[in-house]
Amino acid sequence: MNLLSVQNLRAEFFSGGRWLEAVSDVSFDLRRGEILGLVGESGCGKSTIAYSIMRLLASNARISAGEVWLEDVNLTEADENTLQGLRGSRLSMIFQDPMTALDSLFTVGHQVVETLQEHLGLNLAEAQERALALLRQVGIPAAEERLSAYPYQFSGGMSQRIALAIAISCHPQVLIADEPTTALDVTIQAQILHLIRRLLVEEQGTGVLLITHDLGVVAQVCDRVAVMYAGKIVEFSDVNSIFKNPLHPYTQALLKSLPSQGIARGALENIQGRVPSLTDWPTGCHFHPRCIHARALCREKAPPLRSAAESQEVACVLYE
């Protein structure tokens, strides 16, 4: 069952007097109770997709084509009132820097309680009780005292727990998590990822879109994975297949360039060249200038994502 459906999405940024495409014809579905990883290097458009879904794009950016459906609601056409009602309740988001989600002027308790009252219609006492239970659930020690603390008194890991508690409190159908553990230490990262899986995906059936550049995180928690390169999804598959049998040359190269793959002290395989910037995306397949399998055709033809094996889709002429 698809909770969220992104169809032929295009998003653009206005820069230097023209519109530059940042997300180029992206389609995918998010199912109930799964974690879908959206993985790619910086500038590939993964966060732009997140902000497009939330309809939180900056003023110099726009959705130029395509639709995003949250079950029966067309998010791309919804008005601000509808969106306001959906955000934080059916559709929730957590960010890399949890401080962006918290207001430094109010106590943490106040912010959690306020959200609960707003979205669940609880009275003050009920909301306070619920807030306390939530803080305990996400592993905040001495939760009672911490309710009256201010965000600056919290570490990055603690703030992310609070952001998560706020997200969990409203039973979202969809959670978009944009690099939620990138700023955290590994032991804390593991705890946060575990909380997302246990409290949201398993207990509430939330569908999570996990945006990350960390292939280790993807392997650990995702069910399915979309690999992005320069604005496009180049490969879409279940998590086991993508690590065992990556199809797209970019995915293959990316996995080989990881230093933890066991070849100690040898030269790491790397991808020649660099990620292209928005202003000079290559023609045809965006990866062709860096691809070791590139042929003349790749310069002209942008291959669509199509099924290449069971539960694996790839956008590459090698598989056509």
Partner: protein
Amino acid sequence: MSSTNDGDNPLLRAHGLSKYFPLESGILASLRGAQAAVKAVESVSLDVYAGQTLAIVGESGSGKSTLGRLLLRLMQPSAGHVQYKGENIFAMNRTRLRAFRRQAQIILQDPYASLNPRMRVGRIIREPLDIYREGSLAERERRVQELLERVGLTSAQARSYPAELSGGQRQRVCIAAALALSPEIIIADEPTSSLDVSVQAQTLNLLSELQRDFNLTYVFITHDLGVVQHFSDRVAVMYLGKIVEEAPTATLFAAPQHPYTQVLFSAIPLPDPSRRINWELPTGEPPSPLDPPSGCHFHPRCPKVMADCSATVPKLQTTAPDRRVACLLYEDRKHSPPSAPSKVRTPSSNMDGGETS
């Protein structure tokens, strides 16, 4: 370059090195007597050998960056000393210190912040040569060209400003500037943390080649254990200002001894869905360095905590010829073989044949 690579003498040796940052200063605080302080680094002793890479790993607040700065005398220690080829760097006079500084360079994490945005790349790389008045201007310019080529930049890029370069290219500029004076040792503080995976691989390969070509010694400060495993000869693990374990890389990854190292390794998200994390990880966060726990700093989070751990500060002691660990579990049986860690999922156990060296 290094003529002192005679096996046993470390190039750089830290002894009882501590750095405390006072929380409040001024007359009132000093009247009150004992000052509260953050013990960022607490009696750290370690050796760095020529031509090798020592990795210092730890989570945020463990003091690893402060330690790196102390090793270069970029700050004064609260106690202890650092010897460079037997000479205490904190006792060096201006001339000696100037000589030391050309041998010991640093590369920082953020190539966006560590380059002067108003200077062209060529000038940034030339600056150390200017400061040390190396040869004529023409010779310096030639050297800049040489360095650019060596780190994989084009000679035309000497005229670029940092803003015109990508993150990976900027880090190459930092590396070229660090290499300009042909140093013996480079302290690299999270040099690839801000780079994308594909660019990180290019940068690590470059650092490897340079080490081989110039017999460079690296101290690699990082929290990325994949990078550590790939890149280093020895590893020192820090927790809240102290070294809790030190061992050759392969040994450490095969069988970490300190419970903290074991926890740390088991939390690494390996890029392999068939080896998922055992989620029964210790709960809790690293304590604030403002108020570290008594005894062993790790005891409140330790899965193997014993009654003594909150009272006794474990000493970093030798458990095998080549390794040291600071944990009461090993204090009484330093001559017996270390007990096999139970159910520790180490990154090396992930790989075919557990090949780590």
